[in-house]
Amino acid sequence: MTQACSQRASSLFRAFPLVLAACLAAPPPAPGQDAEARGLEIAQDARARGEGFGDFTASQTMLLRNREGQESRRELRLQVLEVPGDGNKSLFVFDEPRDVAGTALLIFSHREDDDEQWLYLPALERVRRISSSNQSGSFLGSEFAYEDMGTPEVEKFTYRYLRDDECGGLTCTVTERVPTNTRSGYSRQEVWQDTDELRVWRVDYYDRKGDHLKTLTMSNYQQYLDRYWQAGEMTMVNHVTGKSTVLTWADLQFGNDLDDNDFTRTGLRRAR
């Protein structure tokens, strides 16, 4: 609120001095340096809590809904391998819709370098390297962009702690993160994380023009291996188009003994 207020205040200062007056009544923002350090600290702490999982496999169902309420379903399976000190290796295999069944996507995400992506098209038996510049592109026609699907790497954002806020009975920190990648579709994001476990409960996405584009809400959190928290349901609502996507996780399993050989271009052809 404070930030939105100050932006509005600066641009509308001359025409509407009253807006500024209203903003001055709100609590003053924390000094810039401290807020940035605290935001980064939260992000690093959250990453540290998620580290050491090794690997996992899971299924995902996506329910795509348009403004008129028409629905379309996507089903996919994924396996993820942690690469200590760098990003992850992920393999997605699509089951529904049936015309893309067997299509597989291999992603090597990196903390600092650009991600590497290969797509396997079963109809042509062809493994094709695809550009990772497509960060803002829609994942399978859903409201999730490619950049929303992976783990947001700490190094790919700058942070600023904004405030504490109540979220579903818990206390959440609200942190602003700004993508450093100029190809991101977002100017900034606001992330709600509870102070107990640093689980993400809500993300507000702002487009390049600064307008509130999408809201992600997470629910049905479950703890695995007495340590890792994973939301069972993730709902992305696009406020501009009125479309929404509900992503449901199932069959999450850790400790599958996966290694680099399960994430190869040769293996892509075998994935099914």
């Binding site: 795509l64 379309s72 379903r73 819709p97 038996e125 550009s131 803002s136 399978l140 190869t264 040769t266």
Partner: protein, 418 residues
């Protein structure tokens, strides 16, 4: 999902038994033999606006094609895939055909820090990077009757061993049997004036179609570069046509397959929105258009640039440019001896997965132009549709494509995917 398998013996029969012993074992259910059935059925209609150049050629063809896939996998991750294919075509008897696209056993396991994989049976393999033409892709024969774009392939009997690691991927292929190219029948379009005697292919090798061909490939991915180097030694997949007579004395063209040797490289550099692509081959042992042995080189190279999320929408628009070159010039056995391909791809990233690719091939030496259009879209989660067209607005009389100058067509397809 890939699972690790245990190394085992080599003979196909042993493999079969080893892979599927659990299927007949009383503990089969407990061991978990997976079975999966999927595939697609398509209804298609092809319409040629102009009457054929040769007598008997039809202006319309309707048909149905089915490609089901049966997949079995045991608890060790070994699998058997069976993919038969059948098409019925109302106009061309040759286009009504059956093929086994896939029937292979697959097993894999660890080899040092890397991995080995063995596929034995009938399978499909793709090599290459370019869009307008697939030069280096040689393992499988083209099912040309399916589509003149040469992207449909016949199943190829093979033993295919892969060894991969941090250092790249090495593959060797043993190819014991040659599949003859499918070609249009007398009522079909997109053919030469004389009918093909497809049932009587001729071979340079005395072993005929049983010549044992070998192929190898090394590929790797280094940062933005993905590349492969390949070699093939054996029976050519591209027929040379010898005029002759059939059993009843009518003039025909006999497909003739030489013994060839081919080196190939393919590469793609992916940088931001750019994809730079190259394929090049050197082939010896093949006849040129005049029927003379000629060693030659050919290449296709170019770029694809994508504008992501154009005009604030979810749509991606790409522009492609590729140059096709064949060192034999006017003696080339292909139309793409010196041709520039320019195309655009439009993908709105909508729920229907809509995609459009429209391109033009410009012949640099002649006035010939070939326009191509491909449009795909899902209708429901199970049904999808396609529109395809090849238009020949001008074919030079000296062009190898001249006999097909009146064979522009539109094709509408309706697919049920299961």
């Amino acid at each position: 999902m890939p699972r690790r398998a245990v190394p085992s013996g080599a003979a196909a029969v042993v493999l079969w038994t080893a892979a599927f012993a659990p299927a007949i074992h009383p503990d089969a259910a407990a061991q978990g033999v997976d079975f999966d059935f999927s595939g697609r059925v398509r209804l298609e209609t092809r319409w040629f606006p102009q009457a054929g150049t040769f007598p008997g050629q039809r202006r319309h063809a309707g048909g149905i094609a089915a490609e089901p896939e049966f997949y079995f996998e045991n608890a060790q991750g070994r699998s058997f895939t069976l993919t038969p294919f059948f098409r019925y075509d109302s106009a061309d008897a040759n286009r009504t055909h059956f093929d086994v696209r896939e029937a292979f056993l697959l097993m894999f396991g660890q080899a040092g820090d890397g991995e080995w994989e063995l596929r034995v049976g009938i399978d499909r393999v793709f090599w290459g990077a370019a869009e307008s033409r697939h030069l280096v892709d040689i393992v499988n024969q083209t099912d040309l009757i399916e589509h003149p774009d040469e992207e449909d392939k016949l199943g190829q009997p093979m033993a295919h061993l892969t060894w991969s690691g941090d250092w790249g991927v090495a593959e060797v292929f043993g190819l014991p049997y040659h599949r003859a190219r499918t070609l249009p029948g007398s009522r079909g379009r997109l053919r030469y004036p004389l009918p093909y005697d497809t049932g009587n292919a001729l071979y340079e090798s005395r072993a005929k179609q049983w010549h044992f061909d070998v192929a190898g490939r090394y590929s790797h991915s280094l940062g933005p570069l993905d590349f492969g180097a390949s070699v093939f030694n054996g029976t050519s997949r591209e027929p040379f046509f010898l005029p002759g007579a059939n059993a009843t004395g009518d003039p025909v063209l006999h497909p003739y397959y030489e013994q060839i040797h081919q080196w190939g490289v393919d590469a793609q550099v992916t940088l931001d929105a750019w994809a730079l692509k190259l394929e090049a081959i050197h082939r010896s042992g093949a006849r040129n258009l005049r029927g003379v042995d000629e060693n030659y080189g050919a290449l296709v190279g170019g770029f694809e640039y994508t504008f992501f999320s154009v005009w604030g929408t979810a749509a991606d628009v790409s522009v492609l440019g590729e140059w096709n070159y064949d060192g034999r010039g006017r003696d080339a056995t292909t139309a793409f001896d010196n041709d520039l391909f320019v195309a655009t791809r439009w993908a709105p990233n909508d729920i229907q997965g809509t995609e459009l690719l429209a391109g033009i091939m410009f012949d640099a030496r002649r006035a010939s132009r070939v326009m191509t259009l491909e449009f795909n879209r899902r209708i429901t989660d199970r049904w999808s549709m396609s529109v395809e067209s090849i238009a020949l607005p001008g074919v030079d009389a000296s062009d190898i494509l001249y006999p097909t100058r009146r064979d522009s067509f539109f094709e509408f397809g309706l697919f049920y995917n299961f």
